[in-house]
């Protein structure tokens, strides 16, 4: 492969993103639906229940699903407009092959699949087994996530499979596993309104997990105090009892400053610590140094805020801590999360009603897709790829020799680096848009041009798919059946609502057909995704994430089942750690010491400002789906650079000016939004857009040593007023990467 087969404006003209603004048949001709199918939203880890209306085998609208207990009919704008991705003009309806001269050309399915299988084996015989890689996503169902892990190890036989959950939950997962022993939110959401104090760290809940807002507000109606840590005054922070505008990367200062005061004032539970934990002494030794004054310098906030936080959190009867990407997207992401969880465990306020801890999963199946074995170091059931007993068990389920299962491969960012430097030559990608979503965008896109062979499965031509040799048209969530696992660990059922349009195919069938061509069709002889789920149940049995007792029928009857659920008559486990029995073999929680350290790139004289990135409520991830929905694009059409009036004033920037945000790696030109609701040393740009509007052009390719999550939340930039951009890219519609 090499450069794009056509100019970007030509690719956009042919494949979009175009905006769908009306339901199938138009606004006025909908009439009564033929059926209404209860299922779930595909945008974000909340996985809200929603009913889709079908008429003439087309999805034409939605109806709230008030009976589903998690969201009781509530939805965010993405959920409301989700159905507009159906019957979309950009939908890919035939396999496409790259043609240097003529752009993408249609080919038939057999040719496309034959060619992909042939190239996999050619590259592997020329460069080695692991020179062909597989990249997948956390928006896939559990069934597809399981299938992709098995496909990579059994059919492709490569070590190099990883997924875009690497950009999402891995820091939280690692920290949770290290301290509590299980990688899952410890409590169901129904515990949140029962807590008397709630600490939200690095989570813009109103925009990234909107449904959780009602749980927070309900806690406050019940008398809870709310503490919010964020460099930006978010809608949740606006009315918080205590808003701490921590600098990006300074969170440990707040957590340990609080813990320091709690030790001093006797607000830690020493009996609990002695009986049910290990490792406290090392933590206590570290927090001793975090006097309010020192903690304040780490966090870059007034010491009085940290004292106040300790006074709210420390003596409370019950408490709940939630965190998300704000503390996780760091080269010390695991350490940030560990410091937060230490704050929970030191009080013993976990494992009972109204007391606990949760990480807010970001992607559609952020929880489930990281349990089924598509991480580079993991087997199904959240098993460890390097554990001989785990390997042996899964080899039995897969009917392969244990020795044939590859060992740990590269995680997402090093995998792209291996493509860039030529160690990986071929790639199959499903449900991932690294051209927009990975840091250091210019480097990532250059890597994609260096692949010898690249197949993408997607329902739309994503910015990444433009680099492919072959694009295979796959299926939307509502065109296939399966399960996901929501933010609480509740396994839920996505029903098939309609069939994929003619020409497109269900992802799992594409993968099984490829497996057949790779000579292992007998191991992928599934008749349906239900068959895959039944195998997943067996594969997860006895693992940490045990689905053995969960059936699709039970999910429907019980409105979801929480794992672990080892037996059919097991009720599932909404709340972990009851009776203070933690997930480690010794049954104890293991405190983890972690001292604060700086980010990979702190601001300096040349690049004096911190850039932090995140989401807006109307867009989802890299925007492949949501940048094609007119109503969502209208709500927030293009990325803006939030900048405090003091900083803007010193740079001569006024609201609405075009600004150039530039790091050592790349630059973007976007409009300035001058707001007092952000720290004056920090600017914020949301990351959902491509090309010259992609915040990830600036972000840094630094990763956490344990979780391998990229440091999306801090890099050093300079910001300057710039002339309005001109040229082909600037002239595109904003949804495609232009600017207005």
């Amino acid at each position: 492969m090499a450069r794009l087969p056509a100019s970007i404006p030509d690719l956009v003209a042919q494949f979009g993103p175009h905006l769908n603004r009306e339901p199938a048949g138009g606004w006025t001709t909908r009439g009564e639906p033929d059926r209404i199918v209860p299922t779930h939203c595909c945008f974000c880890g909340q996985q809200c229940g929603i009913q889709l209306k079908v008429k003439d085998e087309k999805i034409v609208g939605f109806e709230p699903w008030e009976e589903f207990p998690f969201n009781k009919g509530k939805l965010c704008p993405k959920g409301v407009k989700r159905y507009m991705q159906d019957e979309h003009p950009d939908r890919l309806l035939t396999p496409l092959i790259r043609d240097e001269a003529r752009g993408f050309q249609p080919i038939d399915w057999d040719t496309a699949l034959d060619r992909t299988a042939r190239e996999i084996r050619r590259i592997q015989s020329a460069y080695g087994q692991d020179a062909f890689a597989v990249l997948t996503g956390a928006s896939l169902t559990n069934e597809k996530a399981y299938l992709m892990g098995k496909f990579a190890r059994v059919a492709v036989r490569t070590a190099n499979i990883d997924y875009n959950g690497r950009l999402c939950m891995v820091s939280a997962a690692a920290a949770s596993k290290k301290i509590l022993g299980i990688d899952r939110s410890a409590n169901p959401w129904s515990d949140i309104p029962k807590a008397k104090v709630i600490l939200v760290a690095g989570a813009n809940i109103a925009e990234c997990a909107p449904i959780t807002t009602d749980y927070l507000w309900q806690a406050r109606e019940n008398g809870a105090k709310l503490i919010v840590l964020d460099p930006r005054l978010t809608p949740i922070a606006r009315t918080a009892d205590l808003f701490i505008p921590v600098r990006p990367g300074g969170d440990i200062g707040v957590f340990y400053g609080m813990l320091h005061i709690m030790v001093q004032r006797g607000w830690i539970n020493r009996e609990f610590i002695a009986a049910h934990t290990t490792g406290w002494d090392a933590v206590e030794a570290i927090v001793e140094r975090y006097t309010p004054e020192y903690a304040a310098t780490v966090a870059s906030v007034p010491a009085s805020m940290i004292v106040r936080a300790a006074e709210l959190w420390g003596p409370a009867d019950s408490s709940f801590l939630l965190h998300a990407r704000g503390i996780e997207h760091h080269s010390k992401g695991v350490e940030n999360c560990m410091a937060a969880i230490n704050l929970v465990v030191a009080t013993g306020r976990i494992g009972r009603e109204g007391c606990g801890y949760a990480m807010i999963t970001g992607q559609g199946n952020g929880q489930g897709a990281r349990e089924q074995g598509q991480k580079c170091d993991q087997l199904p059931g959240a098993r460890d790829l390097e554990n001989p007993a785990h390997r042996e068990y899964i080899a039995g389920v897969w009917r392969v020799e244990e020795s044939t299962i590859p060992h740990t491969g590269l995680s997402a960012v090093p995998l792209l680096e291996a493509i860039h430097d030529g160690r990986i030559k071929g790639l199959l990608l499903l449900c991932f848009n690294p051209a927009v979503s990975l840091p250091d965008g210019d480097f990532i896109r250059e890597a994609l041009t260096r692949l010898e062979f690249f197949t993408v499965i997607d329902f739309f031509m994503s910015e990444t798919a433009r680099y492919a040799d072959l694009v295979l048209p796959g299926s939307l969530m509502e065109e296939d059946e399966g399960t996901t696992t929501n933010v609480e660990g509740r396994v839920i059922h996505h029903r098939q609502v309609v069939r994929p349009p003619a020409g497109a195919r269900q992802d799992w069938q594409i993968i099984c057909d490829l497996a057949k061509r790779l000579g292992v069709g007998d191991k992928f002889a599934y008749e349906s995704t239900h068959d895959i789920f039944e195998e997943l149940r067996i594969a997860s049995k006895g693992g940490v994430a045990d689905y053995a007792g969960i059936t699709w029928e039970r999910i429907d009857r019980e409105m979801g089942v929480f794992w672990p659920c080892p037996e059919l008559d097991h009720p599932g486990t909404p709340r972990l750690y009851e009776g203070w029995r933690f997930g480690h073999p010794d049954g104890k929680a293991h405190f983890q010491p972690a001292d604060w350290r700086p980010a990979a790139e702190e601001p300096d004289a040349d690049y004096p400002i911190v850039l932090t990135t995140g989401r807006v409520v109307s867009q989802y991830l890299s925007g492949t789906q949501t940048r094609r929905i007119g109503a969502l694009v209208d709500q927030y059409p293009q990325p803006q650079c939030e900048i405090h009036p003091r900083l803007a004033g010193s740079l001569g920037i006024a609201d609405g000016d075009v600004v150039r945000v530039e790091s050592r790696r790349g630059a973007i030109a976007v409009r300035a939004q001058v707001v007092k609701t952000i720290r004056p040393d920090t600017v914020f740009v949301p990351y959902h857009w491509p090309l010259d509007r992609s915040a990830n052009n600036c972000t840094i390719r630094a990763i956490d040593p344990i979780s391998k999550i990229p440091e999306f939340k801090i890099c050093a930039v300079r910001v300057s007023k710039a002339p309005a951009p001109s040229g082909d890219i600037a002239a595109l519609e904003p949804a495609a990467g232009g600017i207005r």
Binding site: W27, P77, T213, E221, P302, V617, Q635, P680
Partner: protein, 208 residues
């Protein structure tokens, strides 16, 4: 058990626009959103406020309509203008103390929130109040609101000398019995301190 009613709690609003997007999905006015979401002043705050029609007991919009085009249902829901009668004069737009009615040039009539009459008349809840993820909009009983919310639900408004009672309630602090929208004389402002800027992060960081 009393009947279902509409409640607004402005303090809960997160500005997500789920209500705006869902309003457009309502069967009586598909493709046209009739709820207003006000951004108070984005430079200074992220505060936002949703505004549905308050459905006045004696609707001012109807009082000032020279064409008698604005009608109330038996349940007290104030409807959009009757198309054959509406002359597009916008008296209602100017008169409504809540800023709800808007003249729609394309339709050439005044259109406004009708509390999802097609839904509420068949036992379903209005779109906006069903989807609202923050609970800023709720369609439930007064008992349920009093059980689950702090403060008081009021539907009594004073605009200077004018008293208005509305079908829709707003949640206010317990000590408040009605909403008093008064004119504040400039002379009183000059004597007071400059207004605090509670959402300026730079100012928050300077507190010690």
């Amino acid at each position: 058990m009393s009947e279902l009613a509409f409640f607004i709690d402005y303090s809960r609003c997160i500005g997500c626009q789920a209500c705006v997007q869902a309003c457009e999905e309502c069967d009586t006015h598909r493709g046209r959103s009739l709820i207003h979401l006000e951004t108070i002043e984005r430079r200074d705050s992220v505060q936002t406020a949703p505004q549905v029609c308050m459905h006045c007991e004696d609707p001012i919009c109807a009082q000032v309509c020279p064409a008698d085009a604005i009608k109330q249902t038996a349940e007290g829901v104030v409807q959009s203008s009757l198309k054959p009668r509406c002359i597009g004069c916008s008296n209602c737009v100017l008169a409504c103390p809540f800023g709800v009615p808007k003249y729609d040039g394309e339709a050439d009539q005044m259109m406004k929130c009708d509390m999802c009459y097609d839904r509420t008349s068949t036992g379903r809840r209005p779109m906006c109040a069903t989807v609202c993820p923050s609970g800023a909009l709720a369609f439930t009983t007064i008992e349920e609101i009093m059980r689950t919310r702090q403060g008081r639900a009021v539907n009594d408004w004073r605009f200077g000398d004018q008293h208005v009672r509305t079908k829709v309630f707003v949640l206010v602090p317990t000590e408040v019995t009605h909403v008093n929208v008064a004119i504040i004389p400039l002379s009183s402002l000059r004597r007071s301190q400059p207004p605090a800027d509670p959402y300026d992060v730079a100012a928050l960081l300077e507190v010690h």
